[in-house]
Amino acid sequence: MRYQIMTAALAVALPFAGPAAATDLEVTHWWTSGGEAAAVGEFAKAFDATGNHWVDGAIAGSGGTARPIMISRITGGDPMGATQFNHGRQAEELVQAGLMRDLTELATRDKWAEIVQPKSLLDGCTLDGKIYCVPVNIHSWQWLWLSNAAFEKAGVPVPKNWNEYVAAAPALEKAGIIPMALGGQPWQSSGAFDVLLTAVGGTDAFLKVYRDKDAEFAAGPEVAKVFKAADDARRMAKNTNVQDWNQATNLVISGKAGGQIMGDWAQGEFQVAGQTAGKDYTCLPGLGLNEVIATGGDAFYFPLLQDAEKSKAQEALAETLLDPKTQVAFNLKKGSLPVRGDIDLKAANDCMKKGLDILAKGSVMPWTDQLLSQDTQKQKEDLFSEFFAKPDMTVEEAQKRFADIVASAD
């Protein structure tokens, strides 16, 4: 992390070193895995083509590590030109404090309301009727990635949904394969539970718990079913000794693990490894039980700057991000879905096409980033990282504590 702060500091210092022909704009983000870095390169290329210069401020170690650094730079009076956040409530207070730039004018001029699909994406960027961010992709958590080679080795057919997968776990184990890969970082176990809640409990159950914050329902029998599934997942994942999500994905890619519950950003890793969807790996949206796409994703926010030159460059960047060509190039590499409904993704692979179909059908739902505060998310992460790491923690105890968190959620 220290190294990252150094690079961030260097990136700030650089604009003063070079000749000031093009406007340098520092962009911070946490896209550092192979597939992610390739995707963000597309943004940089497109932005440089506008005559400005993209100064890359990548912060390694996932959003959890990156966001505090970004926020402390903005609140500390050293804002970058633009920064990634997951749209929703992560930057809510920064916007309320007037630290972020209001993009409404630009949005009206470029008719964002018409081109951004589905509409709920722009809602995540809107506060009191004003638009503060540019959504760049749709990422949904609800995917199960399965290694075809692993199931072949275990001698069972590749499962078509979560229940079949659980049933196949003993066969996988017998063949010396970890049934399910789950990295040790807290956000992964918390996210995996949310996916189970959507898939096993259903969209309504998800909304009742996280949108309506119905603690009684969270303590009830329907959610108990979800905790039962989480208990299965815990047993299947107990031998994963890795931390990062992409290391866990790599276990699936190399056939050492049967599968992984992970968002569609895992797709980029399969692509970098040269694997083909359908042949080498299988993807099941909504764990094969409830095919929906959550409209979470990444967005760029623009801190309010005094420098007129840089403010102009911010506008150029905002336009570049939504440009149809950039959208295609970026999302193909990233494995995420584009935010525009009017572009053609011919090159999309099987899994992305599944996602686009679901999107076209309109089976979309909001995700936790939009519904819960960071505070509640963190408590949830603490609970589930403990639950998944501690085999002797009972399902009942976990559900009781979950209901308590929902009761005090904001």
Partner: protein, 297 residues
């Protein structure tokens, strides 16, 4: 003392007093002021940005009903007591052994002190590898033929804190050893000669004569170790990031996580106030005994 001399007391060593004003101001504004500000805001419901919206003791109620905080406190106690005891014991034994006029003393001293030159982050990463079941100690021993050998503290919730303790001791005992060695060297040769004349065994000489004479050194070592215990953070982050689950969380990490990850300053301030309180509870009686006692004597 006559009355006319009194004003002189205030202006005596005037240069020195003027020169220390910046430090006095730093101490007052940054340390005392900052602490007071933190305590004040711990009674508010500040989220990402500090706001003066008082909610009484809510943050403290929540803090003490959070399982993660309780685990953190328990870990700090285990880690604190053990690291205090082992640092002092191992440090003293190493120093006593080095003090036997052995050959290559400089070399040994350098070897023992070297880990201290590494930051906690590097120490943590080194021990993360050493304790990794596939590549580290367990892997090597199994490779030698003991197939059932099992040593993976970092992946076992029940003993993970000891895995961190090992790394901390490896890094920190060298310094304690050097302090102790300096203390031992400060003991007059004649004391040893006198003890030998009286026929006191070496072990007893150490326990009943030398160690009591080294009290100031022990107190210095104690303060250095204790300060390291309360602020332990980077070692945990580098070795386990608090895992598996929340089994190796420590209070300082709770403070950081809730202030910056969870965007809940109020909760983080409440936790840091509790940390400050625990330090005060330990330091104040000790300082009173140590410094208050001297004035009387």
């Amino acid at each position: 003392m006559s009355k006319s001399e009194r004003p002189n007391q205030l202006f005596r060593n005037l240069n020195a007093k003027v020169a220390s004003i910046p430090m006095v101001l730093t101490a007052l504004v940054i340390f005392v002021g900052g602490s007071a500000w933190t305590v004040l805001y711990s009674f508010t419901n500040s989220k990402l940005l500090p706001r003066l919206n008082f909610v009484g003791l809510d943050q403290y109620y929540r803090l003490w009903s959070t399982p993660r905080w309780l685990v953190s406190i328990e870990n700090l106690l285990v880690y604190g007591v053990l690291s205090l005891v082992f640092s002092l014991v191992i440090g003293f034994i190493l120093a006593a052994l080095l003090d036997q006029k052995i050959r290559f003393e400089d070399t040994f001293r350098t070897i023992f002190l070297y880990p201290f030159a590494l930051s906690f982050i590097v120490t943590g990463l080194v021990w993360q590898w050493l304790l990794n079941p596939e590549f580290g100690i367990q892997g090597v021993v199994r490779g030698l033929g003991w197939e059932s050998f099992s040593f993976d503290p970092l992946y076992n919730s029940d003993i993970v804190i000891y895995g961190i303790l090992i790394a901390a001791l490896w890094q920190g005992t060298g310094l304690i050893m050097c302090l102790m060695l300096a203390g031992l060297r400060g003991i007059d040769e004649d004391i040893w000669k006198a003890a030998r004349v009286d026929g006191i065994p070496t072990l007893k000489t150490y326990l009943f004569i030398i160690i009591p004479m080294m009290r100031p050194v022990f107190i210095t070592a104690l303060v250095i170790i204790a300060a390291g215990i309360v602020k332990v953070y980077d070692l945990v982050v580098a070795q386990t990031s608090g895992g598996p689950g929340i089994a190796s969380e420590v209070p300082a990490k709770y403070v950081y996580d809730y202030m910056f990850f969870a965007q809940n300053l109020g909760q983080g301030f409440a936790a840091s106030t509790m940390m400050l309180l625990s330090v005060v509870v330990v330091i104040v009686p000790w300082a009173y005994l140590e410094f208050g006692g001297k004035k009387r004597g």
